[in-house]
């Protein structure tokens, strides 16, 4: 039995390895495992690189696609910039009440549509104005066509449905700063006529003197331009406008056909600004034309005027004076309007104005004070109080027409 046990032990020793031999195997296996791990690491690294390369390829394609999209967007913007037709407009609703025989009234004063197109050196502009001022006697006789400033013969359109008129329709070629040519129906070049729109004026109504001096508009040809000399961040500029047009266009197409033409001009000096002085403009105007009387006879009509606009910090001053002469009779008028822009949205103003015209038997001095609230550049709310003082003139015969009167007006204006 003992011999058998020794034989088994001897056999086991013969088939098994010694301990030092097992340790060598473990070390070899560890080395192999480490090498395999390194290989796997390298493979993972290469996999990352391949994946990164694939990702980069996709990004560049995306960038290219995006660039093309953006290019198209830019081209689209450019296209729209160069070919866009501009459509805008404004709306003015007014309430007026005074001590005249006319009742207090709400007036849809203006609804204007503006259409414009600019193509390189050419510019087209059109304004279609729809007026709907109820034709109360006071307005009919004294306002003389409202904002248009013309005279409406008594007894015509009393429907209160208003009228549609093309106020502007002109085409302009801008050769350079010195020379521009504009043809068509356009506003007279005086400051208030150019800026008489409800969005651009502080008051709800225009100065009374405008009714009888320069014509509000002209149909013809105007040449204008500017010569300027830089002066610091500003410049000294000389603007000119000269025009040749039909006589007394408004409301009288027959006058259009007559041979005699009117002509006029305007020279404006824009003084350099700086510091608190933001604007200092001085201008002189001249008009020579013929005007049709009730008999349709054309008579000579000469008007000249001066004007100025000054802006110092929040203070603004506008003033115009004009004097006209027809058939040996002289008429004149003016307004002076100081204003203070209290905040960005609130402006308060005062205006003194006068008209003295034997032609329409009217001589009045008017004081006007008001507030203008402009919450946005496109919206204005206005309110004003005015007092009219008829002047003692021989041509004012009615006692009623000699009495001073007070009035109140308010308006809401929207530009769109």
């Amino acid at each position: 039995m003992k011999r058998s046990l020794w034989l088994v032990v001897a056999a086991m020793c013969a088939v098994s390895q010694p301990a030092w031999a097992q340790q060598d195997d473990v070390a070899r296996l560890r080395a192999e495992l480490q090498r395999q791990q390194e290989v796997i690491g390298q493979l993972l690294k290469r996999l990352d690189e391949v994946e990164k390369k694939q990702a980069l390829t996709a990004t560049s394609e995306e960038v290219k696609a995006e660039a093309e999209t953006q290019q198209e967007a830019v081209e689209s913007v450019r296209e729209s910039l160069l070919s866009r037709v501009n459509l805008n407009g404004y709306y003015n609703f007014r309430f007026a009440a005074d001590e005249s025989p006319a009742p207090a009234s709400f007036q849809q004063h203006h609804l204007g549509l503006l259409l414009g197109k600019q193509l390189k050196k050419f510019n087209f502009h059109m304004e279609l104005e729809l007026q709907n001022v109820p034709h109360h006697p006071q307005i009919h006789g004294e306002e003389g066509g409202g904002e248009e400033g013309g005279e409406t013969p008594e007894g015509t359109d009393v429907s209160g449905e208003g009228q549609v008129a093309v106020e502007n329709a002109w085409m302009e070629y801008a050769h350079n700063r010195l020379l521009n040519v504009r043809v068509g129906k356009q506003l007279s070049p005086q400051y208030w006529w150019q800026n008489h729109y409800p969005n651009l004026t502080l008051s709800t109504d225009q100065p009374i003197y405008l009714r009888e001096l320069f014509p509000p508009e002209l149909v013809g040809l105007m040449v204008h331009g500017t010569a300027a000399k830089p002066s610091g961040g500003s410049e000294l500029a000389l603007n000119y406008k000269f025009y040749l047009s039909n006589n007394q266009f408004e409301g009288n197409s027959q006058a259009d056909l007559r041979d005699a033409k009117s002509w006029g001009g305007r020279v404006q000096v824009r003084l350099p600004t700086g510091g608190r002085l933001k604007r200092f403009d001085v201008a002189g105007d001249l008009y020579r034309g013929r005007i049709a009387l009730v008999t349709q006879e054309l008579v000579e009509d000469h008007v000249y005027g001066v004007e100025s606009q000054i802006e110092v910090d929040r203070f603004q001053l506008q003033a115009e004076y004009a004097r006209g002469r027809t058939l040996g009779e002289t008429r004149y008028g003016y307004y002076v309007q100081p204003a203070l822009r209290v905040t960005d949205t609130w402006t308060t103003f005062y205006r003194i104005e006068q008209l003295d015209s034997p032609r329409i038997q009217r001589a009045e001095l008017r004081h006007l004070a008001g507030l203008n609230f402009r919450p946005y550049a496109q919206i204005a709310l206005k309110a004003e109080y005015y007092r009219g003082v008829p002047q003692q003139r021989s041509f004012i015969e009615s006692e009623e027409d000699r009495r001073p009167f007070n009035g109140f007006a308010a308006a809401a204006v929207f530009f769109f």
Binding site: G112, A228, D344
Partner: protein, 136 residues
């Protein structure tokens, strides 16, 4: 004293913004009065015959406010009122607006007559900087 002394600063030295144009635009500098006319759309053509296409920033941006104050001596609000006046009387609309430097640079790169401005330091070599003379 009404006159303001003339100063000339290279565009890169301006703290607030730089005026940029298309790289092939031959114009290298502009008086600030001409820059005013360009952004008021009163100058319509470059001397080399390309149509001027000014691009402005969104009205709420800081750079727009600084540009308005330093170039026009007016607030953005006053300029908005100016454009209402121009729109009604001249039929002109304000320049189109964009909201980022990237969009503006992209536009200027793509449109030969374009002119715009970006915050100083944000311009790149895809556009050309203009030297503005007489800037406040």
């Amino acid at each position: 004293m009404l006159l303001v002394g003339s100063i000339s600063l290279p565009a890169a030295a301006l703290p607030g913004f730089v005026v940029v144009v298309h790289k092939e635009n031959p114009v290298a500098s502009l008086p600030v009065t001409e820059l005013q006319r360009v952004f008021r759309k009163q100058t319509r053509m470059w001397p080399h015959g390309e149509a001027v296409v000014p691009v402005d920033w969104d009205a709420t941006s800081d750079v727009r406010q600084e540009f308005s104050r330093r170039v026009f001596d007016r607030s953005v609000r006053e300029m908005a009122e100016f454009w209402v006046q121009q729109n009604i009387t001249q039929g002109l609309t304000p320049p189109s607006t964009l909201k980022s430097t990237r969009a503006i640079l992209r536009f200027v790169v793509s449109v030969p007559g374009a002119i715009a401005y970006v915050p100083a330091g944000e311009e790149d070599d895809t556009v050309k900087k203009l030297d503005i003379k007489g800037l406040r």
